[in-house]
Structures are given as structure tokens and as C-alpha cells.
């Protein structure tokens, strides 16, 4: 079950007396030089408990040892902003949204656990990110899940996807958090390496921000929540550090099982003790469990910590101290509480039926000391465990196949050349797994609970009301096109940010801040490391240019099977603020006779497009041009048009271009439109190109001049396409190679709705 040493005890005295003892550092994922460094730090060999702690905390997952040197750019290139109340490095960044309100948001991966056990892996992914948010003092108010799977018709996708979706629903629904968006993407590159990312959004008043630190000598360390069992022992280092090639089922450690009911109690209990002012410092227990919580709290504090491990409430009394230190049992938190407040703190825990135990206290020694059955088994400088782990400058090399990939442009692919061919192509795309309706997935999530969901999937961004009195709200969207990132990781990351930024603006919210979840292959492969470094550089540059700081994020490496890595997949989440959610712009076509226009410029850009992927199975060429200045201007038009009430609908143009945008807007509104391809414009390019910095909008006929004037002020090109039809009207495109392409809403809906149920039941 576990690769942890099953010795019952190895004290500091033993380590001094028996320096020669062989230790299984390699099995725990540590390299020889890392083991030597631990011995140097301690001036002796580590005890088995210390080895357990260093091994999990110095794992790639916890230490960011391969990514750290690159991630610094997010700080170095941070745009000037006064909106960031808490920056990178804490559990999650905190952003000022005005009126005394702040929000915190973060996205994290739970990729490998979700492949091993889809339901529990996905469920505990939600649990973990929610605890990150509550440990900042925020009330979680929404979740969303960017998901990526292998080919939709692959048998293993049929195993993984339903389990993941049920796990997200089972956990999130039971917590009472609306699921307001996310992504479901299929690509064979994710076969065997599905990406299960989870985002949580929390709200708080400025005065309620709490940080993870253990301050004040004599203060007590309380472990509360679920009891500790043998869940996912070694999970942090082994699940996240090895590819599946190495690990057959026998080597896989026990998975963690989530208890959303306990998590719900933990949320209410934690927010009550925080708001009552009963807590000095707080930290959730995630990967590396007690090892992580104690070392991080102590390292961030001003002293040391003394922990009596025997006090930890156990579910399984056969656990060794090393296993207790490494256990990843879910739904646990650690708090630092003054002796004066401890009774009140424990009373709140009792009120919520949450187990709590005082496991130690803050000391002034500067050391983290852990005892077990009266003997010291850990005595370390906490900073060396939590923050001063190894840092690597991994070799970077642009892969030799990159040039051939770029040279394979989509220009030679056969394009539709008649109205009938355009009609058939659009239908083929509408029913393809990536574009088809995701209702089969999203109907398993509660989007209504809490009663503040203003927009949810399939809208461009999720929008939630934060203040019921003033109508202040936030919008949030995550995006990434892994195909673009494969063709050009630098610009692919910029494109991911641009799309999320545009989605947020399309609802009328002003984009403010960024989080990310960087999913890549093995950092030990110089080609993957090149993709990673390029993507980070691109994202940092783009955040600087758009003025949206990165508030935090997560890196997931080793998403590969054998030598084959997934497409580089830097998932980017953008958060925006909207002063009055009543003003938000939705995507549905509505009023008959409203004028349909496209903002932005359409170029002949099909590399990495959905059309090339679905129709030709092609990936090659140079992805669409990134023009962040144009994105910024477009966003300003969308936000201003929303505030002034000018726009009756807006929808970002991305996958499968204007055609797909019009289809989605028509289906959402239950009404089509009649549009005309302008003379001199190639209909195929207009309808299916994936040029960036574009949106389809509608305005009443009397407002067209006002919109043109607004767009003109910002230098955004406007093209008039047509008008919204009567309720139930077809979607019609005229002037298509001398003919007309039209679709009834019924056939579009039937095509879009059939795909996922046919695949997944």
C-alpha cells in the first residue's frame, strides 16, 4: 500500500547514533544529491520521519523545483496595479473588487488521481481547492472545472469522463457551490493523461483576509476536521512524480476518498472561527498533509513549533508516525489559536460536529520539533522543508520536430466551395465532440445553489453576484487551446489569456486578474521544458501588456505516457469585476430585428483551428496572430457597451469562428438570424476562421450608429452581418458562393445535443 518505511520509530538520537543506516530515499522520489543536501542541512542523516517530510515537500508537486525559476517572471513582469491585496505565494491571491469586497480564486490540477480513480480523484480535487479558498478567510461561492480527455470515442474516455463528472457533481453539489462554467475538451493527446483542473472562487471583506502563519510563542496548534487515515500516503510525491509507465496497479498508493459533508461542515466551522476572531493563522491540509501544514505554518511564522504527533486523531491506529506525517486524508485544517481563545474555538468545532485536537504549540526555537511516544522523531529548520527546497534549471531545447510542424500549414487543405458544402461543414462541426452541447456534463452540476448565479455555462463566462444590495459581481472564465500551444507555446499561452480575457469582457465585466494551471509533460524532457518556459514567458508578457497580474497558480508536470507528452496546456483563468450584474450581457439572440454585427478583423487563419482538427485531422502551421492591443480595445467596447445598455447580446468568437458563435447564440435564444456575407469577403474564411480579438454582438437598429461610434473611438472594426429573426426562425447565411446556407434550429439543436449522450449514455 505504501512505500513509506514501515519502521515504527527512528528518533533523532537514533539518527545520530546510527549514521550508517541505509535509507530508501530513492523509493521516496529523492535524488542522491537531494538526500545529501538534507544531510548537510541537518548535520546528520535524517530520521525516517524527516525523510518522509522532505521527500513529500521536495517533490515536484509541492516544491515547484523545476518550474520556480520560470514562474518568477509572473512577479518580475507584474503590471502596476493597486488591486492585488495578496500576491503569489499564499494559498491563493486576493483581489480588490471595490466597495470593501475582495475575491480570491485559484485553479489546481488533480490529473493523475483522476485517471486512477475518476470519481474520487475529481471529487477530492474540488475539496482541495475549496480548502485553499477558505484558508484565505473567504467564503467559497462558485467552482468551475476545465476538463480535458482523450478521444471522445475511446473506451477509456468512457471510463474516465462519467466518473470525473459524477465526482465533481457529487462533491460540489453536496458542498452547495454552484458550478458556473469550465471546459470539456477532447483530444487524443490526453489519452491516458486526462486533465482535471478545478477552480474555486471565494469572496470576503477586506478585513477578513487571513494568512497561513504561526505567530506568537505559546499559541496552540489545532488540527481539526476529519481523522487521519492511510489515504494517499506518498500520493504527493509518487502520484505526481512518476508517469504511469513506471507504476502498475500494485505500485499505486491508496487513493484519497472525499467526504463532502465533512467539507461543508469544515467550511461553516472555519468561517465562523475566522469571523469571530479566534484564529491567528490557518492552513489547509492538502498534498503532504501534516508535513506541509506544520512546516509551512512554522516557516511563515516567527518561531518554531513543537508538535506531539500522538495527539493526532487517527482513523487507523496502525499508522506509523511517518505515515501520519505523509497522509493525505481529506477535509482537514490546521489553525493557530491563542490559549485565551482555545475554548471558544473548540466550542465552535463542537457546534459543527467537527473533531478538533490540540497537537502542539508555537515555540521560539526556530525549529520544527515533532515527538512521538515521548521521543523526538523530527527536529528541522522548518524553512528548509517548506520553502528552501531544491531548485533546478532543467535543460531546455526546442524540439527538432517544431519546424516541420510549423511548416505544415493548413493552406493546402480542401475547403468547402459551395453553399451546400458550407452548410454540411458547419453541421459537422456543430456535432463534433468539442463543439457539441455540454449539457450532458453540466446538467449534473448544481448551478443555482446560493441564488447568486447570474450567468453560467454555456455563457462566455460565469457571473456571480457578490453584493445583493449593490449588485456588485464578478465574472470568471478559463480557456486554453492546447493545439495552438503545441504549434507555438509562447503565443499559445498568450492566446489562452486573450480568449479568457475576451470571454470575461463579453459579459460586460472588466478583466482584473489572472490565475493559471500549467499542464505539461515531463520536465526532465528538454523539449517539454522548452514548451513550459515559452508558455510561462508568453503568459507573463501578455499579463503585463493587458495589465492583469497573475495572482497564483499551479503547475502539473509528468502528464505523459512513455515519451509522448500531452499538448502543452496552460489553462488560464481570468477574473473580471462588474459594478452592477443587472447590466451583464448574455449571449442569447433575443429581440427580432436587432442588428447582428461582428467586432474585430477576420483574417485567413486556420492553423490549429477546430475546422482543420475535425474535418481534416490536421495540426500544423502558425496559430492565429495575437494582438493584445486589439483585445484590450475590444474589451473596452464590450464593457462600455454593456454598461450603457447598448448591447442586447455578445458572444466571443473563437473555436470554429463566427459560424459557431452564431449557432450558439441562436440555440441559446431560440431564434436564428439572417446574415449576409459582405461582397468581396470569402464566406468560408468569414464563417470559420479563428482570428482573435473578435466578438459577435447585437444592438437595436436605432443603436447601430452609437455602436459604430463607440467602436470607432477604440479603433475596433465593425462589420454589419444581418438581423435577428422572429422567434424560432432559421439561421440563414446569404451570399455564400452564390447561394444560401441555412439551418433550422431543430436540426442544429438535435445535432449539438445528440453527441455526448450517444457517447456516454
Amino acid at each position: 500500500m505504501s512505500t513509506a518505511p514501515r519502521k515504527s520509530r527512528d528518533t533523532v538520537d537514533d539518527a545520530i547514533a546510527h549514521p550508517e543506516r541505509e535509507q530508501p530515499y530513492a523509493e521516496l522520489g529523492l535524488k542522491a544529491n537531494e538526500y545529501e543536501r538534507i544531510k548537510e542541512i541537518l548535520g546528520r542523516r535524517p530520521t525516517s520521519g524527516e525523510l518522509a517530510m522532505y521527500s513529500v515537500m521536495w517533490s515536484e508537486h509541492c516544491s515547484y523545483k523545476s518550474s520556480k525559476v520560470h514562474l518568477r517572471q509572473f512577479g518580475d513582469k507584474k503590471p502596476e496595479t493597486d488591486k492585488l491585496l495578496v500576491g503569489i505565494g499564499e494559498n491563493a491571491g486576493v483581489v480588490d473588487i471595490g466597495q470593501g469586497w475582495a475575491v480570491t480564486f485559484k485553479v489546481e490540477s488533480h490529473n493523475h488521481p483522476s485517471y486512477v480513480e475518476p470519481y474520487q480523484g475529481a471529487a477530492t480535487g474540488i475539496g482541495g481547492i475549496v480548502r485553499d479558498i477558505i484558508s484565505m478567510g473567504a467564503r467559497p461561492v462558485a467552482v468551475m472545472d476545465p476538463l480535458r480527455f482523450g478521444a471522445a470515442d475511446h473506451p477509456d474516455t468512457r471510463r474516465v469522463l462519467p466518473g470525473v463528472v459524477a465526482g465533481i457533481g457529487g462533491y460540489g453539489n453536496c458542498l452547495g457551490l454552484p458550478n458556473i462554467g469550465g471546459e470539456v475538451v477532447f483530444d487524443p493527446c490526453y489519452q491516458g493523461n486526462p486533465l482535471v483542473n478545478a477552480l474555486c472562487l471565494g469572496t470576503l471583506r477586506h478585513e477578513d483576509i487571513h494568512l497561513a502563519s504561526a505567530k506568537g510563542v505559546g499559541n496552540l496548534v489545532v488540527l481539526y476536521g476529519a481523522k487521519t487515515g492511510g489515504d494517499g500516503i506518498g500520493g504527493a510525491s509518487i502520484l505526481a512524480s512518476e508517469t504511469f509507465e513506471d507504476g502498475g496497479p500494485a505500485k499505486r498508493p491508496a487513493v484519497q476518498v472525499g467526504d463532502p459533508f465533512m467539507e461543508k461542515l469544515l467550511i461553516e466551522c472555519t468561517l465562523e472561527v475566522l469571523h469571530a476572531g479566534l484564529v491567528e493563522g490557518i492552513q489547509d491540509l492538502g498534498a503532504a498533509g501534516i508535513s506541509c501544514a506544520t512546516s509551512e505554518l512554522a516557516s511563515n511564522g516567527d518561531g518554531g513549533m513543537h508538535v506531539v504527533l500522538d495527539k493526532v486523531p487517527l482513523r487507523d491506529h496502525t499508522l506509523t508516525p511517518e505515515e501520519i506525517l505523509m497522509s493525505e486524508s481529506q477535509e482537514r485544517m490546521a489553525a493557530v489559536v491563542t490559549p485565551a481563545n482555545i475554548d471558544a474555538f473548540l466550542d465552535v468545532c463542537r457546534k459543527w460536529d467537527v473533531d478538533a485536537a490540540i497537537i502542539g504549540e508555537v515555540t521560539g526555537t526556530g525549529r520544527l520539533v515533532i515527538e512521538w511516544q515521548g521521543e523526538v522523531i523530527v527536529d528541522v529548520p522548518p524553512r528548509t522543508v517548506a520553502h528552501d527546497g531544491p531548485v533546478y534549471e532543467r535543460p531546455i531545447e526546442r524540439p527538432d520536430w517544431q519546424d516541420a510542424l510549423i511548416a505544415d500549414a493548413p493552406s493546402s487543405l480542401k475547403r468547402p466551395a459551395s453553399a451546400e458544402e458550407v452548410r454540411a461543414t458547419v453541421l459537422q462541426l456543430v456535432g463534433s465532440p468539442n463543439l457539441a452541447s455540454k449539457t450532458w456534463v453540466t446538467s449534473q452540476y448544481d448551478r443555482y445553489v446560493l441564488g447568486n448565479t447570474v450567468l453560467a455555462q454555456p455563457e462566455d463566462a460565469g457571473v456571480v453576484r457578490v453584493d445583493e444590495g449593490s449588485g456588485l459581481g464578478v465574472a470568471i472564465s478559463t480557456d486554453c487551446n492546447g493545439r495552438f500551444a503545441k504549434l507555438d507555446p509562447y503565443n499559445g499561452a498568450k492566446l489562452a489569456l486573450a480568449e479568457a480575457y475576451r470571454n470575461v469582457a463579453a459579459t460586460g465585466a472588466e478583466p482584473l486578474a489572472v490565475t493559471n494551471c500549467l499542464n505539461f509533460g515531463s520536465p526532465e524532457d528538454p523539449a517539454v521544458m522548452w514548451q513550459f518556459s515559452e508558455a510561462v514567458r508568453g503568459l507573463a508578457d501578455a499579463c503585463l501588456e493587458l495589465g492583469t497580474p497573475v495572482t497564483g497558480g499551479n503547475v502539473s508536470f509528468y502528464n505523459q505516457t512513455g515519451d509522448v507528452a500531452i499538448h502543452p496546456t496552460p489553462v488560464v483563468g481570468v477574473l473580471g469585476v462588474i459594478d452592477d450584474v443587472e447590466k451583464r450581457t448574455a449571449m442569447a439572440l433575443g429581440r427580432e430585428g436587432d442588428v447582428v454585427l461582428v467586432l474585430g478583423e477576420t483574417r485567413d487563419e486556420f492553423a490549429g483551428s477546430e475546422w482543420a482538427h475535425v474535418v481534416h485531422g490536421h495540426l500544423g502551421g502558425i496559430p492565429p496572430e495575437v494582438d493584445l492591443a486589439a483585445e484590450r480595445w475590444l474589451a473596452q467596447v464590450l464593457v462600455a457597451g454593456s454598461r450603457s445598455g447598448l448591447l442586447s447580446a455578445a458572444h466571443d468568437v473563437s473555436d470554429a469562428g463566427i459560424a459557431q458563435a452564431l449557432v450558439e447564440m441562436s440555440l441559446r435564444g431560440g431564434v436564428g438570424a439572417t446574415v449576409t456575407v459582405p461582397d468581396g469577403t470569402d464566406p468560408f474564411v468569414l464563417l470559420l476562421s479563428e482570428s482573435t480579438a473578435r466578438a459577435v454582438v447585437t444592438v437595436s437598429p436605432s443603436d447601430v450608429a452609437a455602436l459604430e461610434s463607440l467602436a470607432g473611438q477604440h479603433g475596433v472594426p465593425v462589420t454589419r452581418l444581418g438581423v435577428v429573426g422572429a422567434p424560432g426562425a432559421d439561421l440563414v447565411v446569404e451570399n455564400v458562393y452564390g447561394g444560401t446556407a441555412s439551418w433550422t434550429l431543430d436540426e442544429l439543436r438535435a445535432t449539438a445535443d445528440a453527441t455526448l449522450p450517444a457517447l456516454f449514455g
Binding site: C174, K264, G451, E468
Partner: protein
């Protein structure tokens, strides 16, 4: 008018139910599961959620909560009680309503905007509607299939105690498309869909759900 909203460990839609009461013009009073006291409220809503994680059976553990002893007595004495979703399950487990709720026939949790027909307006919670009126409110459940034996179903139909029925699509396999039922007196109503999520145009698909809450306030004023 004071309408109590009970919070059990794992209740989720308690804030929403309280908001709906306020929007309808009433005063929402928070009631706590461990407090065996109804604090003199004029009516009670048992909100949706996953009380005690819905482990064992939905509502099975909640029915033994201290507040439920008082509530069952008061309901038998005529106190208006509305159980929504998990609240409906608790009312069935408490035997204030007949039948039970089982896992959806699709085996999936389902969240959708559901069309309903109001079948009875002679309950404390539906007097604001017209018989036959069609409404759209959110539905979200994993175990929402209403089941009872044929005799019970016949009696519910015969006595006009089917309060609402699913239209267009039966989302969970409920017998005879039943979405909600009442007790003999009509003061206790259980409903699987969520009217409290359809009280504001901004956040709900409609405001059709408001009628449940205005009904009770109107009834209390008239009483």
C-alpha cells in the same frame, strides 16, 4: 409573518429559501437542527441540500434531529410546512407525507429548468396559483424519483393531493410524473423542484416560484 427555515448540517439552500421568504414580503427566521424549539414561527420551510451528507438514505438521519420532534407535532396540529427537495425527503422519512424518494432513473444527478403544472391550489403553499397553471422552476436532484404503492398513488390522486406534476419530461422517473404532494389537511407540502431558485429575474429562469411563498403569507394574513 415569520417563516422559519431549518438548517441541518449539510443544508445548502437555506439562504435561498430565506431570501425567497423576504422577497415575498415575510420575515425569515433561522431555525437550528439541534434546537428543539420552533421559536413561535407561523410556518416552516425545510430547505434543500444534503442533510448529514444524505448518507444512509436521504433525510433518514435528519428526521431524528431535535427540531424535527417539535416540527412533526406542530405539523400534525396544522402548522404550514414546505419541504423542498431534501426537505421533501425528510418529510417522507418522518411519515408526514406518504411514499419515498429514490435514485433518479437516469442514475445521474440532474439540474435543469423544469416545466410543471400546478394540480392543486387548495394547499397552504399553492393558493396563489391557478389550477392547471404551468410554471418553470429549477430542478436539481440525484434522488428525486417519487414512489408509493398503487393504492397510495390512487388515494393521492383521488383526494387532490398531487400538488404539481412534471410536464414535457419526467426528469427522475417519478411515478405518475408527480413533482409534489400534500398531506390530507393541505398544510404540509413536499416538492422536489426548487421554487426558491425562481424568485428573481436576474438569477432564476423565471419568477414562477414566488407563488409558493406569497401563498403562505396570504394564507397567514387571511387566517
Amino acid at each position: 409573518m415569520r417563516v422559519g427555515v431549518v438548517t441541518f448540517p449539510g443544508s445548502l439552500d437555506d439562504r435561498d429559501a430565506a431570501r425567497a421568504v423576504r422577497i415575498a414580503g415575510g420575515e425569515a427566521v433561522a431555525l437550528w437542527h439541534a434546537d428543539a424549539d420552533l421559536h413561535g414561527v407561523d410556518a416552516v420551510v425545510l430547505p434543500g441540500g444534503f442533510s448529514y451528507g444524505d448518507y444512509l438514505r436521504c433525510g433518514a438521519i435528519a428526521r431524528f434531529a431535535p427540531v424535527m420532534g417539535e416540527l412533526v407535532k406542530a405539523a400534525q396540529g396544522g402548522l404550514p410546512v414546505l419541504g423542498i427537495c431534501n426537505g421533501f425527503q425528510i418529510l417522507c422519512e418522518s411519515h408526514l407525507l406518504p411514499g419515498a424518494l429514490v435514485r433518479n432513473d437516469s442514475l445521474h444527478f440532474v439540474c435543469r429548468d423544469q416545466r410543471l403544472r400546478i394540480e392543486s391550489t387548495s394547499t397552504a403553499w399553492t393558493s396563489s396559483y391557478e389550477v392547471g397553471q404551468e410554471i418553470v422552476v429549477p430542478l436539481k436532484n440525484g434522488e428525486g424519483g417519487y414512489v408509493a404503492d398503487e393504492a397510495t398513488l390512487d388515494r393521492l390522486e383521488g383526494e387532490g393531493r398531487v400538488v404539481a406534476r412534471y410536464l414535457e419530461l419526467n426528469p427522475n422517473g417519478s411515478r405518475r410524473d408527480i413533482a409534489g404532494i400534500a398531506n390530507e389537511r393541505g398544510n404540509v407540502v413536499g416538492l422536489m423542484p426548487h421554487p426558491e431558485h425562481a424568485v428573481e429575474p436576474l438569477t432564476g429562469p423565471t419568477t414562477d416560484g414566488l407563488g409558493f411563498f406569497t401563498s403562505i403569507l396570504k394564507g397567514l394574513v387571511e387566517a
